[in-house]
């Protein structure tokens, strides 16, 4: 009905639906100030991991181990889209914002699931989407921010969905795209770029949140003459990849943002001899200036497609009777890294494998630099088998940390390996620049004699020891939420279950089968004192690719239905 639903066609070709009647039932919009981002109310979920330290932890405990088996669906909302639904529902005092593949933003009444508005981005016909997904929006003041797959940063009115400005971050035609949720701090919207398979030169850029003007841009590959440039031969720095495609964490006291970086390109390390700084690293960037204040490279001259893009969780932990101002990263390379952070450096503390890893032979005890079994390092014309697989011990799905249990919860994959061989490749703008040749069974292998792949692991951050592991027969692509109710929420398996685990034991306490595999980041919030758990289901991207390869090696045809749905759960009244 026209009186209820307005369809607006903007000059830029974007469609927007609003529903004035639903909006009227909501409270006035509560602007997301910097103060609120620094200390988010437990009733809201204002950013990708809830808080700047990337813990993925909610202090809410109304839903807990005693009553979680009474959890029921309150409402659901079909996004109408396929592919990977990986974004968390971002919640601000009754308003919920969910981004989807193809760059829609759905604004909903968090209480009822009623649609407030929907932003639909028209994507160019000649766009290629290697990773058809989006990992969330960011909120600041009265605006919503989206990083798009055609490499724009868009600022919208949170109440109406009107586009306020959009800023070209890079040219998608040259292989740049974006899938991450922006990080907002100090009045700046920070984003990184994807495109490591397309010959980009990665960077993080910051934009003034009000005007959209670029404040700074810091490349992940140094130009000739800059520190670290000696680690790239010839012109390889110009097309060396090193994307940044997961939201950074932020330490407001140091005013440093921490970003994980992807692998170098092409994939074979022998095409770019050297350490390839700052690939497969964590970078500390000053939020005011973009200056690189420190870094730690997890592994050098990658040949395994082990992007280390997940930002470290900022966690102070105990070592040798001392409190370490620390950060922790479950690496795609299969090692769990404990690091130390300060104003101008990132230090190595210790690291150990958390899944079967057969590439590293040792780590330097001071620097953490690994030595390799070179027979496990594929190269141009040289085929190697290595574990974990190219998707690593943990890919992008974020781990969570509970300050209450002192446990780090890692969504892991064990016992799968890759077979890889390199082939020569020529750079052409916007084209695949991977240089991987064909291998048997798609280059995928399950370790003989093993009985599972997916895991949810819990590690005590103070002792550095694993406390429990819950296993799943097939792959796990489930982001993790921990709560003060001694619960851990996660989906990620190909049986379409969304589950609650006992945070102390790993026992499954509740599970709900939903429409599709759950690749979304779960969140928790309250309205009028009632706690909710929200998550997107919507299988796709690499979870689906791994399923295809599992089917290939097993001779099976297991399919996971696609289609995005937002699910919201609460205790029955």
């Amino acid at each position: 009905m026209l009186s209820l639903m307005k369809k607006i066609v903007l000059g830029s070709g974007l469609l927007l639906w609003t529903s004035a009647s639903f909006a009227q039932s909501l409270p006035p919009y509560n602007p997301v100030t910097q103060e609120r981002l620094l200390n988010p109310e437990e009733s809201n979920w204002l950013m990708y991991r809830g808080t700047y330290d990337a813990h993925g932890y909610s202090t809410l405990d109304q839903i807990n181990i005693e009553n979680v088996d009474e959890l029921e669906m309150v409402w659901s909302f079909s996004t109408g889209l396929r592919e990977g639904h990986q974004a968390p529902p971002i919640v601000n005092d009754g308003y919920m914002y969910v981004s989807t593949p193809q760059n829609h933003i759905i604004a909903l009444n968090a209480r009822t699931g009623d649609l407030i508005w929907r932003y639909v981005r028209f994507l160019p016909d000649d766009l290629q989407q290697l990773h058809p997904t989006n990992r969330g929006v960011a909120l600041y003041e009265d605006r919503v921010y989206l990083a798009t797959v055609d490499a724009y940063l868009v600022s919208l009115d949170a109440l109406t969905g009107d586009v306020i400005w959009e800023q070209a971050v890079e040219d998608y035609y040259n292989g740049y795209y974006m899938t991450m949720a922006p990080l907002i701090a100090d009045g700046k919207v920070m984003v990184g770029v994807s495109g490591g398979e397309l010959g980009i030169r990665g960077f993080v850029a910051a934009y003034d949140a009000v005007s959209g003007e670029q404040a700074w841009k810091t490349y992940t590959i140094p130009a000739p003459g800059e520190p670290g440039s000696e680690s790239w031969p010839g012109d390889s720095w110009q097309t060396g990849g090193v994307p940044v495609w997961v939201t950074g964490s932020y330490d407001p006291e140091l005013n440093l943002s921490y970003w994980g970086t992807g692998n170098g390109g092409p994939w074979m390390g022998d095409t770019r001899p050297g350490d390839n700084l700052y690939a497969t690293s964590v970078l500390a960037l000053d939020v005011s200036t973009g200056e690189l204040e420190g870094y730690h490279q997890y592994h050098w001259n990658d040949s395994w497609d082990w992007d280390e893009v997940s930002a470290p969780l900022l966690i102070d932990f105990q070592r040798n009777g001392q409190t370490v101002n620390g950060m922790i990263h479950p690496g795609r390379n299969g090692y769990l890294w404990f690091l130390e952070r300060d104003a101008n450096s990132i230090g190595f503390v210790d690291a150990n494998p958390y899944v079967y890893q057969d590439v590293f032979t040792s780590l330097d005890p001071v620097t953490g630099r690994p030595e390799y079994d070179m027979s496990k390092k594929p190269g141009t014309g040289y085929e190697a088998t290595f574990c974990p697989s190219l998707w690593g011990g943990k890919d992008w799905p974020p781990a969570a940390f509970s300050p209450k249990t002192r446990l780090l919860y890692i969504p892991a994959n064990d016992n799968v390996c890759s077979i890889m061989i390199g082939e020569e490749i020529e750079y052409r703008p916007g084209r695949q620049f991977v240089g991987r040749g064909p291998s048997e069974n798609g280059g995928f292998m399950i370790r003989p004699g093993t009985n599972h792949i997916g895991e949810l692991q819990a590690w005590n951050v103070d002792t550095g020891e694993r406390v429990w592991t819950t296993t799943f027969p097939d792959q796990n692509w489930g982001p993790v939420l921990a709560t003060a109710g001694d619960l851990v929420f996660m989906g990620g398996t190909n049986d379409r279950y969304f589950r609650a685990f006992n945070a102390n034991t790993g026992d499954v306490l509740w599970e709900q089968r939903v429409n599709s595999g759950v690749n979304g980041v779960p969140v928790s919030y309250t309205l009028d004192g009632k706690q909710y758990i929200a998550v997107q289901a919507g299988w796709g991207v690499d979870a689906e690719r791994e399923q295809n390869l599992l089917n290939l090696v097993r001779g099976e045809s297991h399919t996971v239905p696609q289609g995005g749905t937002i699910w919201v759960f609460a205790l029955s009244d």
Partner: protein
């Protein structure tokens, strides 16, 4: 010569728009506004190699081996030598097949066994550059969609929703030329 109004044609764009409005005829605006390099392959265009040792050379059937891995190719305007490389949607993968084994309805789109499909996957628009030489299928490296080149580019695996578009070919004076516009829509499908 008729007066040129600066739009590149003898009839102004505004006049054409007026004609379209009055008559209801669809006006071929892209043909006027697009630079030739961005235009899709046109009838009579020559096909040239876009990669490999013969890059830039006009393709003759004998330069392609039977069931070889398809190679990247582009169309070129023989009158102006304009290579139609202004849009990635123009890229095709070309090879040579045994047409006696091909689904009959698609044979007319081939010439002396030479066959060309759009390089753009109908799933999310990646370049379909991989090749399964056991099954003779084109494959997309992004999400493992597979296409049967003997059956009109039919999807035989993976998430692609539609076949690859075919580019009909003919042989003129020993060279491979474009015989008609793409059969099927090139590119991915915007959802919603």
């Amino acid at each position: 010569m008729s007066k040129n109004d600066g739009t590149g044609g003898s009839v102004s764009r505004r006049t054409l728009i007026k004609m379209g409005i009055v008559t209801g005829i669809t006006v071929p605006m892209p043909a006027l506004s697009q630079p030739p390099s961005r235009m899709r392959p046109q009838l009579g265009d020559l096909m040239v190699f876009d990669e490999g040792l013969n890059i830039g050379e006009v393709i003759r059937p004998e330069m392609l081996e039977l069931n070889q891995q398809p190679v990247s190719a582009l169309a070129k305007d023989p009158e102006t030598d304009t290579l139609r490389d202004g849009s990635r949607l123009n890229r095709v993968m070309i090879t040579r097949i045994d047409t006696s084994k091909m689904t009959e309805r698609y044979r007319d789109n081939t010439a002396d066994g030479v066959i060309a499909y759009s390089a753009i996957c109908t799933h999310t628009g990646c370049d379909v550059i991989n090749w399964d030489d056991d099954e003779l299928r084109m494959a997309c490296p992004c999400h493992e969609s597979q296409f049967d080149i003997y059956d009109g580019g039919r999807v035989v695996g993976g998430p692609a929703p539609r076949p690859l578009a075919m580019l009909p070919l003919e042989i003129v004076d020993g060279f491979v030329r474009v015989a008609a516009s793409f059969r099927g829509r090139v590119g991915f499908t915007q959802q919603f």
